[in-house]
Subunit: 298 residues, 2 copies
């Protein structure tokens, strides 16, 4: 059976046909023109879906879509997108279902990515999984007993907003000393600029560290230390089987993971620390498409 997965981001909308084994065919990528109207973006998505179905000649059972903001996944309604204007309260599921005559399921992008890694990626073969994306924001998704856990009002998984100190910098969310306030992209780059005296990209910071630059290595291991406090919270509370880490900052890979694992051994409770595997995400650029397609199976 085939489904269509849509990874709706603030920069691009990526989509593709996905088979039962998580393989992606007929990829499409549409720029998310922020100045364009909502209607025109929806039209572009619909036109590409129809096109994929026609060209592939496959029978498609439905469409899953992961979006960059909070949703009511039961009703298929977008609450709002923090980085795209004009999407408050949009009934995206019913709009697409009416136009396409196919079943549509909707969730936020991190939950979609979590499902993807759980079924086909680094999170395979476990029951209790926590998935993190490290980027501009720090997002989280939770699998409990093999099922996506969305929380009492569909807001679970906000690992980026778990405080790691009693006092500290104020976060955009209104909270105090949230993890994201220390290791969101922006704050890592600010620190790098201070350290090196000029603008440094995350890629450059990673390269520098890989070639042995001590200042760059220290920045990454400090990121790992902040992260280890929040993950100790997660590990002692949830006793997960695996923690999967992806996203832009996550590309620093072992530069973060290796000091992170050491810190977890020191900080987390012994049984929980021994049990959990902390690993990098595996699905890469396709994670969003594959994960979204799996929303039809939850």
């Amino acid at each position: 059976m085939y489904t269509i997965g849509i990874d709706f981001g603030a920069t691009f909308v990526k989509m593709g046909l996905v088979d039962d084994f998580g393989k992606v065919y007929f990829r499409r990528k549409i720029e998310t023109v922020l100045s364009a109207s909502r209607a025109s973006l929806i039209d572009a998505i619909i036109c590409n879906i129809r096109d994929i179905i026609e060209i592939s000649g496959k029978s498609v059972s439905g469409i899953g879509i992961g979006v960059p903001g909070p949703v009511d996944s039961k009703k298929g309604v977008v609450h709002y997108f923090p980085n795209i204007k004009g999407w408050e309260g949009v009934r995206l599921k019913s709009i697409l279902e009416k136009k396409l005559g196919l079943r549509v399921e909707l969730d936020n992008d991190v939950n979609a990515m979590t499902l993807g890694e759980f079924v086909f990626g680094a999170g395979k073969n476990c029951n209790n999984l926590v998935c993190l994306t490290l980027g501009t924001g720090v997002g989280g998704g939770i699998i409990i007993d093999g099922k996506l856990y969305r929380g009492g009002s569909m807001c679970a998984g906000e690992i980026g907003h778990m405080p790691i100190n009693e006092t500290g910098p104020k976060c955009n969310c209104g909270g105090i000393a949230c993890l994201e306030r220390y290791i969101g992209n922006k704050y890592i780059l600010e620190r790098a600029k201070k350290t090196f005296g000029n603008n440094v990209t995350l890629e450059a910071l990673t390269s520098l560290a890989k070639f042995g630059n001590k200042k760059a290595i220290t920045i990454w291991s400090d990121v790992a230390q902040k992260l280890s406090v929040a993950l100790t919270e997660v590990i002692n509370l949830l006793n997960p089987d695996k923690i999967v880490i992806g996203g832009g900052v996550g590309k620093a890979g072992e530069l973060i993971l290796s000091p992170l694992r050491k810190q977890i051994k020191v900080r987390a409770m012994k049984d929980q620390a021994v049990h959990v595997k902390i690993i990098a995400a595996k699905l890469g650029a396709d994670a969003g498409i594959i994960g979204a397609s799996l929303l039809l199976k939850t």
Copy 2:
């Protein structure tokens, strides 16, 4: 249908016959004589169970037992009891089943109490619940989608060992700046002794605060603040419907709950903070017996 619930504590073993509505009959209380052998304590429990069954004349479907330490609840094996020697690796479920010819289910005391509050107490009528006990230790139990969540290696719920700072006092568990290290009984009493110049009990500290003593009020509101950091972690991660707080320290009631709710409004994410209800446990001294009896229904 009737079951027997056993609340196995380090001070007393309390037991009783429990009906389908959570009412307790034929209560028994055995002192947990720490110097006595394990076998003699097990014999005392068995003799009282037989006695309850005989006197009540009821048909009993099984026995649930909540114990003061980590267990493998599937196999019914005690890993160890931190405060009672000689219980390492005891197959308590099969020992009791053989002697009594009845089904036996085993879990730790906090999970049992969580079940009790969920089914018959302050946690009724919700799907996602976090239960805390504030006492010598700070324990936690988690209900997800209406089911007790035990974690990947049955160690979930260690809210007392969620760190609330990156650096801080070392905890007995090996961790750094764990919640319990700030608000465990002992640390509250140490603080009270410093403040008042002599030993003060928790009950006295509560009375003082209730009669307007500002120093006592400050101690309780500081406890609430530490607790609010850990609960912000829990709330932003799990988006629970309710948080139920019980245990000895929990008896301070609104002295903790009222400043705690205010802090949560400031610290936690808005949607999650609005959704969650933070309330005192309701089942009191029977919570352990009632909760244990429910282990047969999970």
